[in-house]
Point group: D2
Chain length 435, copies 4
């Protein structure tokens, strides 16, 4: 077995130990020989902290893997086989701004959906397209496995503006299937479903337990259990019971940002005023994590990491990388080009969908028309995403305004304009394309 | 020249004199010989009032046209050539409820867009499908020219559930072109444009003055004039200037319900609390109109009628009827089946679009893909419309809930459920399909 | 009224007097002030011959139009308003080769359909794309009205590889409608129909006489009259009666090359062996025409010209030019981009279809799906056309082979290869792109 | 493990021992407990002959499987889990007619492609739709695995006119992949490819050896080896080398009926005049096989059976049945509904394509647009197939004529009519729908 070089951009992220944990567990089938963690100058301290832990974990595992820490991206990318990204341009402080500015106007403050997702995309896309340019030169056959949010939008930018092979990854679908498995007290592997939509906007039907369709039963449990937690192990969607009955599919929990928009905005404002926004709380958690990481006695991923929900990310990412590496022809849910998978979205769109994964990448399974009850929402978010990508690439103010104005959670173009102006002012350093 | 029989359902509407005025003006090219006004028992008084005026107008015009008033719809439909509809199931009182119930929850109260359009469709579609059944028996070759709002949704129901030839009509596009004509101080006939969308959700580009493309100039004037009334004759969209610049097309003013949703809701609540909702004000105006109509000395349409904006309706309707009758092959904007006109909406959808009108009806002009900056909005409203039609035909509570929940102006499914329940309770008498 | 400059490329064609005749008749609505005839050096003699007649015709008509003859294309194109093309690269001798080579292998020898159309496209497309380049520089706003065969293929090349506004024109649809008019002894203007397909591969249904659908009656007459000439004035399709009944639409007579392929090939071989191919006979007719044209006493188009069937071309071309010039919004059948007019062909394809013609060009009328009974044929010819355009632009031997091999009238790829090799050898001087 | 009941309609076919051989080999993963062979009264002798062998084979294998022979279809279908079909309505004599009638007119005589496929479909579809009706009553959840040719057309009829779950199966793709494996001297399982088209009209690209793209190398070998057998193990397409180079994909050998039509017809006529048509030769082989089967000492499938090429059929069928039964999520090539897999064919079409097979059936992998060099051919055959299904279901003479006339290998509608009339006369007993 030869070299297998994996590079993680944003290697200083507190999630990295999760990812490494996945590589360690799978080392037999996915024998990573070189693991490079890359971060920017501003993240050097975190890189060294997390890097230290990584090195101790590898040592303890006793596997054949060298670990490299660097702020020189191009050194790392040279001849890489897989490049994973989990970057956060502007760090958590930028995220906190992304959340707070729309909340000021009574608009959702969330980092992947709504204005926050728009803003994160504006900062992130130029950086990742630069990465792609480097890859085209230094490792043109490598796979770019993109965890960076908003994963669907970012992957669409890469598909439209780069020749690098890429997939966008999210743990959402995996978590949904895990929740079904818990409901029936079976192994995750026994559960499968038809899954379709956009990143953070997917829904599942044709839910199977070992190939037997349990959809009707599961949807009935969903409706019965919703909003009152009385049913053990049934995921609680927090939606009105009659609405869940009407849906007749299983939505990702992120859909609540659309379906309970008014209530979620109220809740976010309350949280901001009390414990701080989600970003502020993450910052606190992260601080604690890095304290743990700095402990030279720690040589496995700490329990506390689970509180950030990273386990599924790691599992999703590693199993997809392994499916590519081993030409497994397994079905996974990924962000990839539509190309006719559903006719209700443009061909050049990136969708999140079931696809067969093999050495050549993702081969989506034909879906056909979307059901009307979720079609409009998905289509309107896709139009927003398309404009968001265009704005991020061109730096055109008007395109940016149209993007924000077309988001279904932005209640007026006057407010869109205010949010945009505040955002551009607050992110000046990260938006060369607009200046 | 033989018989030409026109029937107006909802003949007791205060708009009827406008329509007759159009028939009188065009009597040479469109020699209506029989004009039947039909209304329900509850509208008999208005029918007689407006019918009296109609008879006096015909007499004064000295044309060969007999006028018939009846509450027996089937008598009127027998051998009709054109049937126009302007019915209002539940009268203005139902409209006022449609407006007030959503406003209670801070949601748009408007009779064609948002929850109001949904509710009006639930009352209206069953009645119009009954009309179609009568027509299939009594005048299967007649044209149904539908003015009844929500015109696009109602026409989609007819296209999907009846074999009767029908077109949905709205004066919106005509008014837009008139506004362009005023801007350049030219005749309306000199102006044309590419127009696309859904009823009350259209936009125009490729604006031509005698075939010369004046789009860039007109859009610049729109942007300059907006929001400040300083430019004489330029339509004021009331939208932020940069947004108008970004749009690069000319939207129907109804788009403000989506683009200025928060502001419009606030304004409507204020109006409701002061002068009453639009429906309440219409009721007052109507009362005055009928007082005028009852004056036996009046034998032409009164000036006051213009305040309800009916002139364009009359012109739009009569010119389309004449284009059919005379096989004119003129281009008009109508509500008709998509059938591939734009791939971004389902084939079986009704769209509002430029179409060649001849004796065989509407032949839409190919449009291709919608621009992203309005595509998502149109697609999400279309999904709402599709569910609305299905709910009106099946009377299925869950479908109705999904319809309301999927409207882009409804901010949460919890609120959708409340509005629906209030609506169903308030409209019990008009919703046989739900009981 | 200002300047209106029209340029005819291939001005030395014997058809030019027809075209001029059309301009003279319409001089009031289409006041051509400058008419430039352009031809290549090799066609100078013909140019002068036909040019002389043109000048005498203009003089006799007493209209305000100057006539210019030149072999300097760029001089003519400068500031042109309309450019019409009727070029024949390689003259009639090349056509005769196009016909004879496939006949050698028992394959259709026809100049627009089958291998002949392929070969003519290879010679013609590079020249017309050069013309377009000149136009982009010298008259970027001019309309290119392309009569040059194969009109659909050539127009597709221009649409795909040039920014010049263009339409492809054929008299076929006009002749079909004239034949319907003759059947009912009415004016051509009373007849209209839905027409769809590709150039020389169209069919008509929804046939209207003053807006009344006479399709069923006309199709019955077609079936009754076919093959035996017994019905006066009914077009004889020469197809089996039951097949005509089955068709239930009205096909262009060119369809016989596909539906009677075996018989047509036999007939062509017989004709070749007796009176010569169609090209050889055209050459003889042309010789006679030029003798007439050289007569200084002739100052109108000679009767004999009609034997080449050019009258409909002239009428079709002039009425379309006038529809553009006068922003008429009339419906004409033209070759223009599909763009979704029918989903059964690629968007970037050129189709022949009903379109509204105004100052901005052609706006096709939405068609929807093609009927299965002609869909396959049209789709397979379109695939051939697409490959033919690509071969003409790239000069790629393999693409050319695939084009010929995919034509439904070529019975084997072995024969396709032989025809291609013979063609390339015989046309060496006209195919710079292949060398 | 409970009951697993498999029924084979046309059980008296000489192929049945192959199929059983497959079931025996896979008995661990696919434990068939009841195997029913059904045939019509006229096939009773063959049924008993082959049934005897089957029983001896099962006995020798020592597996837990009961074998039932019956001419009472409904008895067999009751509670079946899988129903396979390999019926031949009219036996081999009908096939021989199917071949000889078109050859009389110089048209391809082949049992699945061209007129022969049309005729076989007319006899077969009504019978299989009757089977489906029985299944809807007796085993509504069973899978219908259809081997009966023309497999694609027959499966389209079932998809359009029955609710039974069905897949059409053909060994072609499997054989192609085996040929690639032989070329590289690797195991069949190491090879995969993207495969698309219609039954007997598929092509492969993106050919992978353990996930590595070997397409360029393989296509080069194909071109080098073609027509001269000099390259060991490379499949010989018998096509001109330059054409194979131009193709840049790997076509099923059946494509030669289209690409070498003239040559194949000549060859078939020669064969008919010498050794007899393929059907006649099959009849002779079959006679020999049944003599072997009647030998009570034979208790395994005889070597001679391989000469009919059935091994791949058995393998294809059994592995697909096992993939369903065991919910394997493996990729197989099957005939199933398009539903958007490629936009170049109607949604309701059956295509032959890569699909993930699990307990719920086939989930095709998104393909997108077809390449132009094979698109036209596939589309024109699909239009023929669509008309063929419609004719078989309605028994409409005109539809049948349009179907035959639209086949790309039928050189004129006059000949189509002659073939159709001869066919209808010769098959009178098997075509209740036409009488």
């Amino acid at each position: 077995m030869g070299k297998l070089k994996v590079v993680t951009l944003g290697g200083g992220s507190s999630y990295t130990p999760e990812l490494l944990d996945g590589f360690i567990k799978r080392h037999k089938e996915l024998p990573v020989t070189e693991y490079w963690l890359v971060d920017v100058e501003a993240g050097k301290e975190k890189l060294e902290s997390v890097g230290g832990l990584i090195q101790r974990m590898v040592k303890k595992a006793g596997i054949n893997m060298t670990v490299h820490l660097t702020t020189q991206r191009r050194d790392a990318l040279k001849d890489a086989d897989f490049v994973t990204t989990q970057i956060r341009v502007g760090q958590l402080d930028a995220r906190i701004q992304d959340e707070k500015i729309p909340l000021k106007y009574g608009v959702l403050g969330q980092e992947t959906t709504g204005p926050g997702g728009f803003m994160k995309a504006q900062r992130t896309i130029p950086v990742l397209l630069d990465v792609c340019k480097d890859m085209e030169e230094l490792c043109p056959d490598a796979w770019l496995i993109n965890f960076t949010n908003p994963a669907g939008i970012v992957t669409e930018a890469i598909e439209k503006h780069s020749a690098i092979k890429s997939l966008g990854i999210c743990s959402g679908a995996n978590s949904m299937m895990m929740d079904v498995a818990k409901t029936y007290n079976v192994d995750r592997k026994s559960i499968s479903a038809r899954i379709m939509g956009l990143n953070h906007l997917i829904f599942a039907d044709q839910i199977m337990l070992d190939g037997k369709d349990i959809s009707a039963d599961f949807f009935a449990r969903l409706a019965e259990g919703t909003g009152n937690h009385t049913l053990k192990n049934v995921p609680d969607l927090g939606l009105p019971r009659e609405f869940v009955k009407a849906l007749n599919f299983y939505p990702l929990s992120y859909l609540k940002y659309f379906w309970l928009n008014r209530e979620m905005v109220e809740k976010e404002i309350e949280e901001m005023n009390q414990g701080g926004t989600r970003g502020e709380r993450s910052k606190a958690i992260e601080k604690q994590l890095f304290e743990l990481y700095n402990d030279p006695a720690l040589c496995e991923k700490p329990k506390a990491l689970e509180s950030r929900g990273g386990a599924w990310y790691s599992d999703t990412a590693c199993s997809i990388i392994s499916a590519i590496y081993n030409n497994k022809k397994e079905i996974h849910v990924v962000n990839t080009l539509n190309n006719g998978t559903t006719r209700d979205l443009p061909d050049a769109s990136v969708i999140e969908t079931n696809a067969v994964i093999d050495k050549q990448g993702a081969h989506p399974i034909t879906y056909g028309p979307l059901p009307a009850r979720v079609r409009g929402l998905i289509q309107s978010v896709k139009a927003f995403e398309e404009l968001t990508v265009e704005a991020a690439v061109t730096g055109n103010y008007h395109t940016a305004l149209l993007a924000l104005a077309s988001h279904p959670l932005v209640p007026s173009v006057i407010i869109a304009e205010k949010i945009l102006n505040d955002y551009l002012a607050a992110n000046r350093d990260f938006l060369p394309q607009f200046h």
